[in-house]
């Protein structure tokens, strides 16, 4: 019988994080990029919970709640920005929005 240790959770978290990070870098649709950020955040959450379980420390779970709240706030701001961008221009391509270049 295969024993499910915390290493499995950590490997899964790393995989999800990598998917998120690579997605953020290669996709140009801001909505998709946004979802990638969410993926990375939740991968971190997963690793926190895994550590909390294995070390028997509730602090890891508490941090997850903070991250959830933060992610919710981030969604509000981020979506508002995306909507504002979409109102101004056709299509949604992150590379088109480069007014702040040096």
């Amino acid at each position: 019988m295969l024993q499910l240790t915390e290493s499995w959770y950590l490997v899964l978290a790393a995989l999800i994080f990598t998917i998120g990070a690579v997605g953020l870098l290669i996709r140009r649709n801001p909505l998709v990029m946004f979802m990638c950020v969410e993926l990375m955040l939740n991968a971190v959450n997963l690793s926190f919970v895994a550590f909390a379980r294995s070390l028997d420390d509730v602090a890891g779970q508490a941090i997850v709640f903070f991250v959830l709240v933060l992610a919710a706030a981030e969604v509000v701001v981020g979506l508002a920005i995306i909507v504002a961008i979409l109102r101004r221009r056709e299509g949604a391509d992150a590379d088109d929005v480069s007014l702040m270049r040096g």
Partner: protein, 657 residues
């Protein structure tokens, strides 16, 4: 006494009133207001004087502190006043003569479009002068010192539409600035040494000041005094200052402001007592200035220029007196000089007004017939300055000469210089009187006809009065008939004439009880050198009188009897003031201008270059760094990712986790 603040405050109040309501009051009410506040100030000064008299001699010091002016850490300066025998003596003659000259100005400035503005400046001047005299610390005195300088500038260039007047004002201001640097550095040094700027503290601490420091302080303040009191080598502004209206010349450039330097040195006499050879410098500069200015006065044709050089010369006497530490004689001469020089200036103003603003004495003559009061009073002033007994000038000048004679090994030389100056003084003043009031009526002669007295540089001196005439729309015509001035002008003349006659009574040498000024000033003076004994004094006095009469007699031979060709006595070198002015102009224009240009270039290229170079270096760096900001969100994300990986790698490899 609590009244002290009123003395400077009254003219200041008059100034404020005239600024606001001056134009509405107009001619002559504004003038009367200006005169009244200065008169009030004089009344308060007299009250203070009587208060002071009532005190025992050692306790004759009144102070009043209004408020703390500058409190910064250890450094604290008050707005406070110090009334002692020295300052009240100054106050009395500043306010008294000031009031008379205000009164005179009502007549002199009548009809001037800026009548009220003139009194605005005059009142501000009197207020500043009183601040200078009454201030109980060096900084307040400096405030007054700069105030009188600014008013002097305003009043010299009062008729500023004429270019020459405006530049004369600037010249006076800038020349004074050179001296003011000395005053300021001296003040710093006093603060550094004594730890207080208060005159009483300085007096108390002076005996503990090292001789070298005291000498430095004395010399620095003397530099200030040289600027303000027009001594060599900074005297060049005073003759040009005659561009101002004549009452200004009388008040500022004869009676009061220019004596501020003498006052300053006398006020600092506790320091001077420790200053060693600085006193010799003061005495020698004074003596040489007296002689040089007197030689220049001999060859001037402008009636006011003669008096201007005469003032420089007389101020030289005063410095000779304070330099030989006969302060009483210096203050005595300051007072009598204020009487007779103000009288002479006001008299010349009366002549100038009667002659349609013509100032060239070569176009005067025989005016005694037309201007009886002016003539009578002018003669008194002339005899007083020439040193004819028993007029006031004789007593004070004789004291200075006697004091110089007694001043150590170099004393007889200083005395001889002073005596030569006395001879020249008698000569040039007689020349002025004879050219102005005697002889034929030369303005009736064709302008191109040969007139008395030649000399180089005539074009330069002639051009200025001519322009001034045009500016005021006056012209001296051949059928001109001079008329005597109005009572507002003649009353001050008569009062000053009386003072010039009796002024000597302040300090007569015959008995100890008659040396009133000496006893009066004694508490304020630390070290007073005494005059020689009675026998020597008589001999010196007789020599001085003989010299004065010789000067007058010789002038009569030249300018009345015409036994000697006048032009031979007036070489161009004297008419042009030993070319000192021209030398300065050449120095400043040649090497001076090159040095200024060099400084400006250094500033533009090296100083500015360094600053601008640093700035443009950073800008160049910034323009390169900007390229790292492409504006693509994903490239920033990549940066964050790579950075995170690198950090992680660093932590894992280097920190031995």
């Amino acid at each position: 006494m609590d009244l002290i603040w009123l003395v400077p405050a009254l003219p200041l109040f008059g100034f404020a009133l005239l600024v606001v309501f001056g134009r509405r009051l107009g001619d002559p009410l504004a003038g009367w207001l200006g005169t009244a506040v200065v008169g009030g100030s004089f009344a308060v000064a007299v009250k203070l004087f009587t208060d002071l008299l009532a005190l025992p001699a050692d306790e004759r010091v009144l102070t009043q502190k209004l408020w703390t002016w500058i409190p910064v850490g250890d450094f604290s300066v008050d707005i406070g006043f110090l009334v002692d025998p020295l300052s009240i003596t100054m106050c009395l003659f500043v306010t008294g003569i000031g009031a008379l000259i205000h009164l005179y100005s009502i007549g002199y400035m009548k009809g001037d479009p800026d009548f009220s503005k003139f009194f605005v400046y005059l009142n501000l001047f009197v207020a500043s002068m009183l601040l200078l005299v009454l201030g109980d610390n060096l900084l307040l005195t400096f405030l007054g010192w700069e105030g009188v300088g600014a008013c002097s500038y305003f009043l010299i260039s009062f008729w500023f539409t004429d270019e020459a007047n405006a530049s004369a004002g600037k010249k006076a201001f800038i020349t004074n600035r050179v001296g003011d640097v000395g005053f300021m550095v001296g003040t710093f040094l006093v603060w550094f040494t004594v730890g207080s700027l208060n005159f009483l503290d300085i007096g108390a601490a002076a005996s503990n000041v090292a001789a070298g420091t005291a000498t430095a302080i004395a010399l620095l303040f003397f530099v200030g005094a040289v600027g303000k009191s027009a001594q060599l080598p900074l005297f060049v502004w005073l003759p040009d200052a005659m561009a101002g209206p004549t009452p200004v010349s009388a008040l500022i450039h004869a009676a009061t402001m220019v004596t501020a330097g003498v006052y300053l040195i006398t006020r600092l006499n506790p320091i001077m007592a420790e200053a060693g050879w600085a006193n010799d410098v003061v005495a020698w500069v004074g003596a040489i200035t007296a002689l040089v200015a007197a030689t220049i006065a001999v060859a001037q044709n402008d009636i006011k220029k003669v008096l201007a050089y005469s003032t420089v010369s007389q101020l030289g006497y005063m410095f000779l007196a304070v330099g030989t530490q006969t302060y009483v004689a210096g203050v005595f001469h300051m007072v009598t000089h204020a009487f007779f020089k103000a009288l002479l200036f006001l008299g010349s103003g009366s002549v100038i007004l009667a002659m349609a603003h013509e100032q060239d004495m070569r176009r005067y003559g025989n005016l005694r017939k037309y201007l009886p009061i002016t003539f009578a009073t002018f003669v008194i002033g002339w005899l007083a300055i020439a040193g004819v007994p028993p007029l006031s000038g004789f007593w004070s000048k004789d004291e200075i000469l006697a004091g110089a004679f007694n001043a150590g090994p170099a004393g007889p030389v200083l005395w001889a210089i002073g005596l030569a100056t006395a001879l020249l003084t008698a000569f040039y003043m007689s020349r002025q009187v004879f050219m102005t009031f005697y002889g034929e009526e030369r303005w009736r002669v064709e302008e191109d006809a040969p007139v008395a007295a030649g000399g180089g540089g005539e074009e330069a001196t002639d051009a200025e009065p001519a322009e001034a005439d045009d500016a005021h729309g006056h012209h001296l015509t051949q059928d001109h008939t001079p008329t005597e001035s109005p009572p507002t002008m003649t009353i001050p003349l008569v009062v000053l004439a009386v003072l010039s006659v009796v002024g000597g009574a302040l300090n007569l040498p015959f008995a100890d009880g008659l040396k009133r000024l000496e006893h009066w000033l004694a508490p304020t003076i630390v070290e007073e050198h005494h005059l020689p004994g009675a026998g020597t004094l008589w001999v010196l006095a007789i020599i001085a009188v003989v010299v004065a009469i010789a000067g007058i007699w010789f002038a009569a031979q030249v300018y009345l009897r015409r036994r000697v060709e006048a032009s031979r006595l007036e070489p161009p070198v004297l008419a042009n003031g030993w070319y000192i002015d021209a030398a300065y102009a050449r120095l400043v224009d040649g090497p001076g201008r090159a040095a200024f240009q060099g400084t400006a270039d250094f500033d533009a290229k090296v100083v500015d270059g360094a600053v601008n170079g640093i700035a443009s270096g950073w800008r160049l760096l910034g323009s390169k760094l900007r390229l790292a900001q492409p504006g693509f969100v994903r490239s920033y994300a990549l940066g964050v990712g790579v950075g995170a990986v690198l950090l992680l790698a660093f932590i894992v490899t280097r920190m031995n986790l």
